[in-house]
């Protein structure tokens, strides 16, 4: 239904002021009070992407079986990337009920690419007969580059304890043919699917599965004809379109928020209308042409909404909703060792692990630049236990005979944190904590929101799931909490309110940012430049299997762990002042 309506001027009806001026007054009132609804904008939906960009998807990292007989069960293996896009805190329904306030989203595009060295060839991985051939080209083997993609979803255990760990619906699937990659003059790499328009359930867990059986040599042992292959720098990005949502305001108690509190500023939009029974004219101060020109002028100046690059509001705005969802997928511990996994058997090769039995702590860290404003509502960690077993035991390069297991040591401790950082080319240098979780083998379930694997045939682990999806709670704003997700026991996870992120224009003042965690003002003083994501593991008894850990206990399986920053972003762009904190 349209936001603005009018009375029809049908034949024989007396011309009244309301026929002409009532619609104008209605539009003027909406402009003056920033009440233009998203539905009045063509293509008003925003978009966000979930992108999995990994150093490589390698045959030898996934397919541990070194016997040809085991290789016949290809469905046991898949590269998988689970994720969830929980509703923003104020829209989160504790019973996962979808209603008119739920932010709905749908899959629109999927793009897949990897590095072929600009040749119609496949790339050899590190496990072939001649180890120095890692990165070599094989034109013949390119015919084995068939890639099966599948985006699946499942009900979360936190909302349905009977939902199991296997996907219950396939949202989208496709197979990329090797012919895409073997043309001399044209290769479809990257390949793009568009206009998919696949609805996604907003309260379910999603998982991208990638199967590329041709990365395995097929016949074993590998030979000059049968090669282990890799897809270096694999990137799969999925673009989702999303209904607009309202941005956060003072009611949401946002941390690190500028003084504007997200308030929408308005400006008067006055039109002059004739008095009752007055003559309707064209060019008088209340004439039709004069009044219409005011609306012309407003459209010529364009309609503002959203934040500036530095996170400021505009002097006046016109829309009720100017935000959409945002997801930033951050890889941790991927591509670790030739087998692509960080386990109790390979942990000795991690930096800072120390001597046997490798007590750590070992740390991986990612840096993400802050460019435009973003409000973090949830942090979700995907813990990956996928470490398939091999048919034959062996030392280097790590051939476990049992599938991956969860860390079990009573003294094991994992920790993950998200922080803002300021300090590049700056006088002031500081971290401001955004989210943090410290967990053990015994209490990780308290923050687990779901468990998933790629299928019932999976042999990625020795138990019924490959991944734990874990909420990493935002820090609380003093004693003030926000709205957390539910864990798999149905209990709400305590976390802080949403967290505003925007590079400010100056570090000289605190910019009046609101309290962040225990810090008032925030430690970064409103001048954050980077988001830093860090994960660590430690065990005084030893992270290695020579210590407290058992064999093939997995800290990050094939494909690595992932941390998702999930929140809201406003529309941006336009005539921002050209001020940047970096270069």
């Amino acid at each position: 239904m349209s936001q603005f309506t009018r009375k029809k001027l049908s034949r024989g009806v007396k011309l009244l002021l309301e026929h002409v001026y009532a619609p104008m007054e209605s539009v003027a009132a909406a402009l003056a009070s920033a009440r233009l609804a998203p539905k009045v904008v063509r293509d008003s939906e925003t978009s966000f992407r979930v992108s999995f960009w990994v150093p490589q998807l390698s045959g030898y990292q996934l397919y541990a079986d070194t016997s040809a007989s085991s290789w016949q069960n290809k469905d046991k293996y898949a590269f998988a990337f689970p994720f969830a896009v929980p509703q923003p805190q104020e829209l989160l329904n504790s019973s996962a009920i979808i209603d008119s306030s739920t932010a709905r989203y749908s899959l629109e595009e999927m793009s897949v690419s990897f590095d072929q060295r600009a040749e119609p060839a496949a790339i050899l991985d590190s496990n072939n007969a001649v180890s120095t051939q890692e990165g070599y080209l094989s034109h013949n083997a390119a015919k084995r580059l068939e890639i099966k993609l599948s985006l699946v979803e499942k009900a979360m255990l936190s909302y349905n304890s009977q939902s199991g760990t296997d996907p219950d619906r396939e949202v989208f699937s496709a197979t990329l043919s090797p012919t895409f990659y073997t043309g001399r003059f044209l290769r479809l790499n990257p390949f793009l699917f568009t206009d998919l328009n696949k609805d996604v359930h907003p309260y379910k867990t999603l998982m991208l599965c990638v199967q590329a059986d041709g990365l395995h040599p097929d016949a074993l042992p590998a030979s000059a004809e049968n090669l282990w292959l890799s897809m270096p720098s694999f990137l799969c990005t999925m673009r989702f379109s999303c209904e607009r949502v309202a941005r956060d305001t003072s009611a949401d108690n946002v941390q690190n928020m500028p003084p504007h509190n997200g308030t929408t500023s308005t400006t008067p939009f006055n039109i002059t209308t004739p008095t009752a029974n007055a003559t309707i004219t064209a060019e008088a101060s209340d004439g039709i042409s004069t009044v219409a020109s005011l609306f012309d002028g407003q459209l010529m100046n364009k309609l503002l909404s959203g934040y500036t690059k530095q996170g400021a509001t505009s002097a006046y705005e016109f829309f009720t909703k100017d935000s959409g969802l945002e997801v930033v997928a951050v890889p941790l511990w991927s591509n670790f060792s030739h087998r692509g996994r960080l386990t109790s058997d390979t942990v000795g090769d991690a930096a800072n692990a120390g001597g046997t039995p490798f007590s750590g702590p070992i740390v991986d860290e990612r840096w993400i630049p802050i460019n435009y404003p973003f409000v973090i509502h949830h942090c979700v960690l995907a813990l990956n236990y996928g470490s398939p077993a091999s048919a034959a035991a062996g030392g280097a390069p790590h051939l476990p005979t049992t599938s991956g297991a969860k860390p079990s040591s009573a003294t094991f401790a994992g920790e993950v944190g998200v922080a803002l950082f300021t300090g590049q080319q700056a006088d002031h240098s500081a971290f401001q904590q955004v989210a943090h979780l410290s967990y053990t083998a015994a209490n990780i379930a308290n923050n687990t929101i779901d468990r998933i694997r790629h299928g019932a045939d999976s042999s990625m682990t020795s138990f019924d799931h490959t991944f734990d999806l874990v909420q990493v709670p935002l820090v609380s704003k003093g004693a003030t909490n926000g709205v957390g997700l539910k864990n798999i026991a149905g209990a709400s996870i305590v976390q802080g309110p949403p967290f505003f992120v925007a590079k400010g224009a100056s570090v000289v003042t605190t910019q009046g940012r609101s309290q962040a965690g225990a810090n008032n003002p925030p430690a970064t003083k409103g001048a954050e430049q980077y988001i830093v994501v860090r994960q660590s593991f430690t065990d005084p008894g030893g992270l290695g299997s020579d210590g407290a850990a058992g064999n093939n206990e997995v800290y990050a399986g094939v494909g690595g762990n992932w941390l998702y920053l999930i929140g809201k972003k406003t529309v941006v762009g336009g005539r921002d002042p050209k001020m940047t904190a970096g270069r």
């Binding site: 011309l15 060295r117 094989s138 034109h139 083997a141 090769d349």
Partner: protein, 292 residues
Amino acid sequence: MIRELVRRLQFTEDTTIDGNRLDGFMQAFVDRFNALQPRDLERNWTETTFVAGYQPAKPVSAGGVYGSPSLPWMNPRNLPYSFTFNQAVDESLFYPTNEYRSKGWGLPFLKTSISLGGGDNYYQWSSSLHVFKPTIITKIMFVMRTDNEFTNSFIYGPNGEEVPPGKNQGDPSDDFTVELAVDNPFTQEGRSQGNTEVLRTRFPADAWKMNAAISTDMKPEYPAVAGPNPTGVYVNLDVEVPIPQNSRVRLNLVIPQYSNGLFDTPYDTGWGSTNSFAKQYYSVAISMLEKS
């Protein structure tokens, strides 16, 4: 001048005001504000960020047991001769189709006649992305993080030995490259025809350091034994690169390895002569604005 954005009909002196004209005018007015066009909006973009990165395991040469793959790092050059393609198809006639995979990475003091696999004198990490609608790439970040175990000092001559010609001991590294390229729409597979949109090369690494005077670390804390302050190089480029619809965008990162210098002598640098990809660990990001 009147720019008639909400009307299709003129109402001025000497024009008529009748029911039909007014009815048409009001319908156009209401329709206009019920279906605003993207051009009416001042801000109509949303940002998206791609993040990559990893921490290499210890190579065997550095005390590791299982070692680290060099992938995704490979040589930036596909040599047309003097090596054996593995299972190549008639290499003499057709291949390689692209001898050079990217542009702007060669150093005057480091040979570019390198072999096929990883290693030798250069490593390249290349990623690509298909852009369907017009976008603007606004940020390119390439972080090479170091600590007490990832030991690249990003200077020439950290051990007081021979440095490349023109360099002094202690000079900051200026030998790695960041390139953002867009494939030529007519010869998409010809890298020599690609359009280099951003090229940062031969710039000093010490321009991208962090202020290390941090009073309180984040949680989890960086291990004290590893050197807790953020060291390394944090290349963080603000760019404004408009990308046309249906473009193929490539990010190429190239780092050196001093296996043999101009006169077959391995120069003294922070990268070392082997496994230079494992001397630091990585965070890579691209931010871009898309039409909402």
